[in-house]
């Protein structure tokens, strides 16, 4: 077929271009602007070049935060993805109970972030929280305000509680799309439960799982509110994740230049990891085809 070339068609892209410019590009540019300047107050700015970026790259504080952040995302992915799949596999396939499950599982997703944080902050308190008090009474040394391990367990469990449903719902949608004939064929072929999962369910879920992993990675990498409400980044800096550190720097210490440089690098890291992840998954998919 002959393709019609009409350069005027570019005008059709213009509204989107303007929208994206005002919503993303221009705000981002103000951050870029701060990242290359220094100020001594009085609204006076001086050109600083890449000084802040250099400083940030050499800053142990940022590398530590990045390490914690990677560990956090790694742990919650390693728990939420398999757990979500497991939950989806064991959900009723239809009828009243399936609907009930779906509604109950959607509930955590509807709770605002700082409410989730507050719930767990209170839940875990040794003096009045159900969880903290019970553990303490059982003789377990649990105190998330003083103990690093306890703090980490609390924020990880909180995230698992909040977001496993999302993975489960996505996986469930993937499972529901498998026609009955596949299960019947597997029965005829005498496939074991594991093989049904490995060769029918998992391949059919791959698409939605990719989305689930990507969403959970991006979200967890940007997490701020919940751990901040529960631990405030402590004890010490033990749960100071990247965004918590960034807010401390930008609003607490008002180091606009370094914070802007930090923001940009933070953004680039997320972009890079997501892109690498996406490319790898898509290529895997192609190679199998």
């Amino acid at each position: 077929m002959e393709k019609t070339v009409n350069q005027k068609a570019w005008f059709l892209v213009l509204p989107v271009l303007l929208l994206v410019a005002f919503s993303a590009v221009i705000p981002l540019m103000t951050v870029v602007n701060y990242s290359v300047q220094d100020t001594f107050g009085n609204n006076q700015f001086f050109w600083a070049g890449l000084e802040w970026f250099k400083e940030m790259l050499e800053s142990e504080r940022m590398w530590d935060a990045l390490g914690r952040q990677l560990m956090f995302s790694g742990i919650i992915l390693a728990i939420e993805i398999p757990l979500g799949i497991f939950v989806a596999l064991n959900m009723p396939k239809g009828g009243f109970w399936a609907s009930l499950c779906l509604v109950l599982m959607s509930l955590p997703l509807l709770i605002p972030w700082n409410v989730v944080g507050t719930i767990w902050q209170i839940f875990g308190r040794v003096d009045i929280g159900l969880l903290g008090y019970t553990l303490d009474a059982l003789g377990v040394n649990y105190n998330y305000t003083q103990d690093t391990v306890a703090a980490w367990i609390t924020i990880v469990v909180m995230d698992v509680w909040h977001w496993t449903s999302l993975v489960a719902l996505l996986a469930y949608a993937g499972l529901k799309s498998i026609p009955d004939a596949y299960y019947q064929a597997a029965k005829i072929d005498q496939a074991s439960r594991w093989k049904v999962f490995r060769f029918i369910e998992l391949p059919k879920m791959m698409g939605v799982l990719m989305i689930a992993i990507l969403l959970r990675f991006m979200d967890s990498f940007m997490i701020y509110t919940e751990p901040f409400v529960v631990t405030g980044g402590g004890p010490g800096n033990a749960t100071t994740l990247l965004s918590i550190d960034l807010v401390k720097m930008a609003l607490g210490q008002f180091d606009l230049g370094p914070a802007a440089a930090f923001s940009l690098m933070y953004f680039l890291v997320i972009l890079l990891i997501s892109w690498v992840f996406y490319t790898v998954m898509v290529n895997l998919d192609k190679r199998e085809g």
Binding site: P179, A181, Y182, Q184, A185, K187, I188, D189, Q190, A191, S192, K195, F199, I200, P203, K204, E288, G289
Partner: protein, 358 residues
């Protein structure tokens, strides 16, 4: 391979079926002969797939028994029945190669790799996919995938029967013919018992030695394609098989004459007085348009479909079809129709009545 016996079999999807209408599959006794090719023909929702799923063990019947070579397998799970089934939509294991797909049922049964490899080669040759064994199943065309699911069924030597549930639905028209031919050849060469479910009469008639026609949960006729054509036992068979289907005309029967609105048609046999809804059935192939003989008919339309002409006409208030040869001339004054007496069947309440020699 085995003879499959259905003994008083019936199935309802309701937990407590009250009347006969509640049964998706009404009571049925039938032997599927070992090594024969059957087609199960009927319109959608007539119980074909229900019957097939009962045979393969995916569904447990509400009543009755299924026997494989005299052995009761009604309660046996699918895996123990050694049944192969090809579904409407091709089922292949996407992430595996063609080879692994074919090997899957054998490996699941713990056969050793040497045997598996040999058997897969053999099957690949049978279905003509030897050069594709290393390919992933995902990227293949629908017909290749259907061949794989067929091959997966045949790879087991102990397979009792091959079941096909409208396997050509998603196949391109030109490949349909080729696959059907290949199936017939496989049946001829290896003699598996095959049961082929379809709602396409051409598929059924070309594939099967015997066609089982189902209507509203009931088997209405089992016979060779010729029998179904010449002596439909039920008006549904007459109507469903043939293109166009049999003409069914309300009539009164008296001895060897059928009266239609006062005029009569000769029958080749004599009949006792009949009760209920009485009709005669004549295939369009056995009706002939003429100028002078027979009963009046009002011709509405003549369709030339290439090999023959179909005449759509009105006959005492009933629509009928008449088939005329490709070269027959149809003129405006041809407004009478005659029926070939030997091929006029008589139906009472939709079931064919056997007459006695007149």
């Amino acid at each position: 391979m085995a003879k499959i016996t259905l003994d008083n079999l019936a199935h309802s999807y309701l937990p407590n079926p009250a009347s006969e209408d509640d049964f998706a599959l009404k009571e049925l006794n039938h032997d599927w002969e070992d090594g024969a090719a059957y087609a199960l023909l009927g319109s959608s929702g007539c119980g074909k797939s229900t019957l097939l799923n009962i045979i393969s063990g995916l569904l447990h019947p509400s009543q009755g028994r299924i026997l494989f070579d005299g052995k009761d397998v009604t309660g046996a799970p699918t895996a123990e029945r050694n049944i192969a089934q090809v579904f409407q939509f091709p089922v292949v294991y996407d992430t595996m190669t063609v080879h692994d797909n074919l090997a899957f049922p054998l490996r699941n049964r713990g056969r050793d790799e040497a045997y598996v490899a040999e058997r897969v080669q053999e099957i690949a040759r049978m279905i003509g996919m030897e050069d594709m064994l290393r390919k992933k199943a995902r990227g293949l065309t629908a017909d290749a995938k259907q061949k794989i699911s067929l091959g997966r069924g045949m790879v087991r030597k102990d397979v009792n029967a091959l079941l096909f549930d409208e396997p050509l639905t998603v196949i391109d028209p030109h490949m349909k013919w080729e696959l059907r031919t290949q199936l017939k050849k496989l049946h001829h060469d290896f003699g598996h018992t095959m049961i082929y479910v379809t709602h396409d009469q051409t598929e059924a008639l070309t594939f099967a030695d015997k066609v089982v026609v189902m209507y509203d949960g009931r088997v209405v006729q089992i016979g060779t394609p010729e029998e179904l054509f010449e002596r439909p036992e039920h008006t549904f068979v007459g109507y469903f098989i043939g293109s166009p289907g049999m003409n069914v005309i309300p009539a009164k029967i008296d001895g060897n004459k059928a009266y239609i609105n006062g005029s009569f048609v000769e029958l080749s046999q004599g009949y006792k007085p009949l009760d209920g809804k009485v009709e005669i059935g004549v295939r369009p192939e056995f009706a002939r348009l003429s100028q002078s003989e027979g009963l009046p008919v009002k011709v509405r339309r003549v369709e030339d479909v290439g090999r023959h002409k179909i005449i759509r006409a009105e006959f005492f208030g009933t629509d009928i079809n008449i088939i005329a040869g490709e070269d027959d001339r149809i003129s405006a004054d041809m407004n009478r129709v005659t029926f070939d007496a030997a091929h006029v069947n008589v139906y009472a309440n939709d079931w064919r009545v056997q007459g006695s020699a007149a």
